[in-house]
Every structure is written in structure tokens, then in C-alpha cells.
């Protein structure tokens, strides 16, 4: 049974559909593997075996019939309210049928657990959570990335073949890059969002898949999108490589791997590569942070901030209070920057099919001190990561992180961004990179998984 646990998500689905794999046995084996490996990873914060068995018993013969999935602690389930990785949320949370839950249920998938996440979704590292940090399966003392830390750790640790995360400021792509996975941040509004506690007010957050490869993301995201994401073969791809600090202020090993992958993509598609500048990038990055941070404040009062749960981390409490101090004019200006950035991108996408950059400028930093060393010096991982991660959330465009190499024994991710609605093209391009490198990086396995049980 362990072989079936290591299949791709679509491999599991196909084997079940062909009658070669018993979904009941797969579910029980998955729960057993979570029991074995999760103590070291802390990727899954809750399982509910009876609920999962009931879900399988009632599952329709959909495209993901019988496939075990982990869902981030950002989505309510009928039997469990989300906790957002925190001792206290700013918004009310109740159990319910969130849209991702319904999409998975209707596709026949089986939710086997809830994935850990960074507290309040507020960091790219995943090193703070009410449940304790999730760990990176590649090196257990390293950050798994955030805020979808648990979904990434669960898939990279081969607890499950697919997980549902959410991306408000890079929160699918950072952990995908840190854990060696493929993660798609869909075009705003294309994937299932209803039931999220910010669904009615957020202009940055989307749901999306984290999987080993682009084919699995295509399968799981098709379910979340409610439409088939058709595969194609990109030809003569016009690749823009984002310059400036996104190209220059990058750790050498990351830069080398990303440049090799861009060349792979160019060669595989018979395309062309050109460096491109995005003059408003710094302002766009700040605008994203200001907008994302302010959208959660509508229900806040000073009294509420004074009465925050003491179990919330000091960092979380301090940052919540600081958000209130940012002047309104800055957020209004951020809206103008959003308009500027969207117009600049619209022009760029007339010249380029995809824009490429490292997803993050350095590999996963230590959980104890998430600081990265770049040519410009030491930066917190959050300061460094947001540079490439924010633009897609600000403007609504899709973006994907693709595993393309290794540095210091840790995965490297390449980010590709495309015009609105061209999510399929990003998956096609990711698959072109996989073909070019012989699927080397999507099939790479964390060495720690060879040790049973994993030792934290």
C-alpha cells in the first residue's frame, strides 16, 4: 500500500477508477501514514477518521473519487470551524460547507485532515502557529513556508498527494517553493472562495492547490475552479524575466537554478527570453501589504485589540495593533498603485506570455530565525519574499511556483506569472519545464523520508 501513497494525485485517482486501488484501503493507509510521519512534520493539525470514512462512503464517482486531500485551516468544514492558525481570529468562524469543501466533496475526494498554517496567515515562513510550527520535510529545522505551511509540508512529506491552500500575499507559492512543490495562485475570482471568513471583503485571497507537479495541480485546481483546466503545449513562448532586485538580489544557488529553468522553458517551447523592468514593483509590493492588512480591520475596535487572546503570539498581537496606525491616505494611494500596476501589466502581457522570477530569493531559512542572506545583506524572509510574491495578489493575475532545482539541499522555486485568466498557460509552461528537466525536481524526494519514523 505504501506505493499507492507515493503515487501522484492523478495516479491515485486513475488507479481507483480502474479498480486497481481500493479507496478504503488508501484512506486507511493515508491515516496510518499521517500517524507515522506527522509527529515530526506537524503538517496536519487534526484528523477525523470517522468523518473521512463517511465522506468516502457517500462520495460520488467524480474525478477525484477516493483521493485523500488535506485542506488548510483557513476553510470551514461542516464539522469544524477554521482557526486560521491562531488562538483568536478577527472574524467570527463557524463550521460550515465552504466552497472548497463542497467542490472536493462533489468531486468524490476525501478530506483526511486540516493543514497547519502561519498564525492569521501573516507570514511567508510558517514558523508561528497556535498548533506549533509545521516543519519542512527537506530539513526539519527549516521553515515550510507560509502561510499554507501545513498543506505544503503534508504533500512534500507524502502524507497526501494534494492539498488545498489559500494565497493572499504569496501564501501558496512561498511554501510551494520552500518544499519543492508546484503551487498555483489562480486568477482572482476563478477558484472556490465562498465560506472563507474574508470572502466578501478580500481583494487578494484565492484558494488553490499545492501538489507535486503541474498535472496534479491541474486536476485539483479544475475541481476548485469548477471547470476543466485544459492542457496545451505552449509554442514560441515569449518569456519576460523580471529584472532589478528580483534578478540581482537573489542567493547565487537560487539564481543559477532559476536561470537554467528559464533556459529550459525557452528551449522546450522554442521561445524567446528578454529582461523586463517593472518600474512600480516596490510601490506595488507595499500597496499589496497595505491593502491586504487593512481589509481585515473592518470589525476591529480598540477594545478588541486590548482584549486579544494572550495565547496569540506577541508578534501577531503587535502587528495587529500596528496595522491600525497606518494612515488611511497610504491605503488610498495603494489603490492608485494597484491601478497603475494593472495597467503596466496589461501592456507587458501584450509583449510577453509569462513573466519569470525566482519565487523566493533564498531557500527555506531556519524555523528559529527566518532570516535570509542575499547579495544586499541579511533580510527577514518576509521582507525578501514579498518582493516577488505580492504583485499577483495586488493585480489579480495568476502565478505558479515550479520546483526547478536545489541549493544547500533545499528546493528552489521559479515563479511564472501570466495575464488574467491564463492559469492554464502557467500549468502548460510548468509541464514544459518538467519535460525539459526529465521531471527531476517534481519527483525528488526529501531524504528525511527515507528514515522511518521521521525524527524531529
Amino acid at each position: 500500500m505504501s506505493d499507492s501513497l507515493d503515487l501522484t494525485l492523478r495516479g491515485q485517482a486513475a488507479a481507483i477508477a480502474a479498480g486497481e486501488l481500493d479507496p478504503v484501503e488508501l484512506l486507511e493507509a493515508t491515516l496510518a501514514r499521517i500517524g507515522e510521519r506527522n509527529p515530526a512534520l506537524n503538517a496536519v493539525v487534526e484528523t477525523f477518521p470517522e468523518r473521512s470514512r463517511e465522506m468516502l462512503a457517500a462520495a460520488p464517482r467524480g474525478p477525484l473519487y477516493g483521493v485523500p486531500i488535506v485542506i488548510k485551516d483557513e476553510w470551514p468544514l461542516p464539522w469544524r470551524a477554521q482557526r486560521f492558525g491562531a488562538a483568536e481570529m478577527l472574524a467570527p468562524a463557524e463550521p460550515g460547507e465552504s466552497a472548497p469543501y463542497k467542490a472536493l466533496r462533489d468531486a468524490g475526494a476525501v478530506i483526511v485532515g486540516v493543514g497547519n498554517m502561519h498564525e492569521l496567515g501573516a507570514s511567508s515562513t510558517g514558523n508561528i502557529s497556535v498548533y506549533g510550527a509545521a516543519h519542512n520535510p527537506w530539513k526539519l529545522d527549516r521553515c515550510p513556508g507560509g502561510s499554507s505551511s501545513g498543506p505544503a509540508s503534508a504533500v512534500a512529506g507524502r502524507l497526501v498527494a494534494g492539498a488545498v491552500g489559500a494565497d493572499g500575499v504569496g501564501s501558496i507559492r512561498y511554501p510551494a517553493a520552500y518544499c519543492g512543490l508546484t503551487g498555483l495562485k489562480p486568477t482572482f475570482g476563478r477558484s472556490a472562495m465562498a465560506g472563507h471568513h474574508m470572502a466578501e471583503i478580500s481583494t487578494t485571497i484565492v484558494s488553490g492547490a499545492l501538489c507535486a507537479d503541474a498535472g496534479d495541480c491541474r486536476a485539483l485546481d479544475s475541481v476548485l475552479f469548477g471547470e476543466e483546466l485544459a492542457a496545451g503545449e505552449p509554442r514560441r513562448l515569449r518569456i519576460g524575466v523580471l529584472g532589478g532586485e528580483l534578478r540581482e538580489d537573489v542567493a547565487p544557488g537560487v539564481r543559477e537554478a532559476c536561470e537554467a529553468a528559464i533556459e529550459d522553458l525557452r528551449r522546450e517551447t522554442g521561445g524567446e527570453v528578454q529582461e523586463v523592468e517593472f518600474p512600480e514593483l516596490a510601490a506595488a509590493t507595499l500597496a499589496t501589504v497595505l491593502i491586504a492588512n487593512s481589509e481585515s480591520l473592518g470589525g476591529i475596535t480598540p477594545k478588541r485589540l486590548n482584549d486579544l487572546d494572550p495565547e496569540l503570539s506577541p508578534l501577531g498581537r503587535g502587528l495587529l495593533k500596528y496595522r491600525v496606525l497606518v494612515p488611511a491616505i497610504a491605503t488610498i494611494k495603494a489603490g492608485r498603485v494597484r491601478t497603475m500596476a494593472r495597467r503596466t501589466l496589461a501592456q507587458l502581457f501584450e509583449e510577453f506570455d509569462v513573466l519569470a522570477s525566482p519565487t523566493v530569493p533564498a531557500v527555506a531559512p531556519p524555523l528559529e530565525a527566518p532570516v535570509v542572506e542575499l547579495p544586499s545583506g541579511h533580510l527577514t524572509a518576509d521582507e525578501a519574499n514579498v518582493r516577488a510574491g505580492a504583485l499577483a495578489n495586488l493585480t489579480g493575475i495568476p502565478a505558479v511556483s515550479v520546483p526547478v532545482g536545489s541549493s544547500e539541499g533545499l528546493p528552489v522555486g521559479l515563479q511564472l506569472q501570466a495575464a488574467w485568466g491564463r492559469d492554464e498557460l502557467l500549468l502548460d509552461a510548468a509541464e514544459a519545464i518538467e519535460r525539459a528537466n526529465g521531471r527531476r525536481w517534481v519527483e525528488a524526494t526529501p531524504p528525511a523520508l527515507d528514515a522511518e519514523p521521521l525524527e524531529a
Binding site: T187, F188, G189, R190, T203, A282, A283, L286, A287, V289, L290, P302, K303, L305, N306, P314, L315, R317, G318, L319, K321, Y322, V324, L325, V326, P327, I329, A330, K333, A334, G335, R336, V337, R338, T339, M340, R342, R343, L345, A346, F349, E383, T395, G396, A419, W420, G421
Partner: protein
């Protein structure tokens, strides 16, 4: 004026004006966040956006309408 020069005054004063309490650790976090965020905020405020077309509730699922 950069953040380190004025944050010792600004932060306690602003928190007090809102009636928000903060312990020493929270204050340290707030100061650190302010030192990181404030300089780019000032740059943003200096940015001339008067020529940027106004957009009400932009549809983020699509490209912006052409001018």
C-alpha cells in the same frame, strides 16, 4: 524624517490616541514593523498618482479596460 527618529514619540502617542494598550514586547514588535514599513510608506505618499485613472471596484479577474 525616517522611522527611527520619530517612532519613539509617534508610536506611544498614536496608540494612546486610539486608546490601544501595548505591553513592552508588543511595543518592540510595533517599533520594528514601523521601522521597516514607514520609509516606503513615506515614499508612497510622495508618489504622484494624480494622473492615474480612477477605478471604482476594479474587476480583478480581468485586465483593466483599455483607456
Amino acid at each position: 524624517m525616517d522611522a527611527p527618529e520619530h517612532s519613539d514619540d509617534f508610536i506611544p502617542a498614536a496608540l494612546a490616541a486610539y486608546g490601544i494598550e501595548a505591553d513592552e514586547i508588543e511595543l518592540a514588535v510595533i517599533r520594528a514593523a514601523h521601522q521597516t514599513l514607514w520609509p516606503p510608506v513615506l515614499e508612497l505618499l510622495d508618489l504622484d498618482t494624480s494622473a492615474v485613472p480612477l477605478e471604482r471596484d476594479p474587476d480583478l479577474s480581468q485586465a483593466p479596460p483599455s483607456r
